[in-house]
Amino acid sequence: MSRNGPLALIFHTLFVLFMVAPIVVVCLVAFTPEGFLSLPTAGFSLRWFRAIARYPEFINAFWMSLGLGALSSTLALIIAVPASLAIARHAFPGREALSALLLSPLMIPHVVLGIAFLRFFTQTGLSGTFLALLLAHVVVIFPFALRLTLSSATGMDRSIEHAAISLGASDWTVFRRVTLPLILPGLISGWALAFIQSFDEVTMTVFLAAPGVETLPVRMFLYIQDNIDPLVTSVSASVIAITMLALILLDRLFGLERVLTGHSDKGS
């Protein structure tokens, strides 16, 4: 393999700088001791991280995002597993169209989904409820859960299942003892990716959020729309830190590239 020349390495350095600069800046500004935005900052202080505690709306929004993410990705997975088994193992007419429908939230702009959900939930009297938010999130993250479960269901060796059946195992036992353990790595990375998608979603959620059912990205977005101050940077820095932690965990466990490209063949 030929090596990169000096020109390529300069380009690479500038590119990486471009990619990390906005993230680094948020983290730097978050540690400012000043009462206003300042960069480069003179000192170092945790004052704005402590300040988060005084704004219950951020804390509440964080717990809301965490709960919503966990619940919606679990629900999405519960619905995606049987669907992916059906798509992976049965050749039936309209299978392609069905996968297209189930993956369609990837194609539809989230702002359009947000508008459609707002109209729908207003008409059905669910607007401003947690249930509306939950249903909307399950739909939006469903393609991510489906893609990863689908790829592990397709790549699975079925002879073990057949052996279990011929030894007299019931359908449920086969699923619980054979199929589920085999597709589990795909399920876990699917859950993780779905969770992150739910946790980060802002465009669609901003249409459904109401006082009491506000997620963290929505709270941050609405806050930034009014003014940008060190408080929102310290909240953002915390979010970045949490995401980085999850990212490293995900990379160690499954390989980030595999999770992002939708192939979970590692370990299955």
């Binding site: 590119f15 619905i79 669907a83 702002v111 359009v112 465009t203 729309q225 995401t243």
Partner: protein
Amino acid sequence: MSGAAGERVRPPWALLAPALMLFVGVVVTPLVMTLMLSFHDWGQYKGIEPVFILKNWQEIWSDSYFHEMFARTFRISVLATLITVLLGAPEAYILNRMRAPWKGFFLLVILGPLLISVVARTLGWALLFGGNNGVVNMALMRLGVISGPLPFMFTETGVIVALAHVLMPFMVLSVWAALQKIDPQVENAAMSLGASHATVLRRIILPQIMPGLLSGGIIVFSLAASAFATPAIIGGRRLKVASTLAYDEFLNTLNWPLGAAVAVLLLVALILIVVSSNALIERRYAEVFR
């Protein structure tokens, strides 16, 4: 319970029922309702009137404000896509030629931001751009690239740069995936036959990553055209794109039918662009996809 080994004959509908119910109930129905909403009437005092009129569509068709806004959305998306192509493709190539630990590390650094909240990433750009003494302007002036500060906040330039950053990982990922399929022996063969590095890039690498480049371009374009948080924060209330305008009609003006029409138009235009360019690419590069 079916008999011995072999394909069990079970209609998959039982397995598909939950997903189908969810999607028909919570995706198809709301989208149809939105389409219908775009034909309803609206007035400041009477609210939404469920009648069938073309008023909203005529307004979008005839008012130059909407033409300008859709043209701006298109322009911003094309330029942001172009930046990701010009920067992302070379970077994916360089990344692919790196040695083992660095390759994985920088792939993580470049793809990682994809999972960081887009609000946090855009906030970073707002801080970098911020006013006349933002970091970007300071750096550019110190380097002598510009003599006076450039306006980035509330301008198309700012939105384009921030969008290119937010969507860059998709391009790198797409070109990276295409590069993985290239047999390095072809490159070596060209080199040993005396081709210069530039010729190898142009005649061997570029044609083979073209499908990845184009499909990455489609992904970035469609995400840029429907982006919301980034144009809302960097563009502010004055610089409207399709998604921020629809948001405004819904949550500020409360003219839902007009907002619905803008959203439906955005959706239809995007689907047409994506589907037709996909078809074009697949026809052009049929042999690569096989």
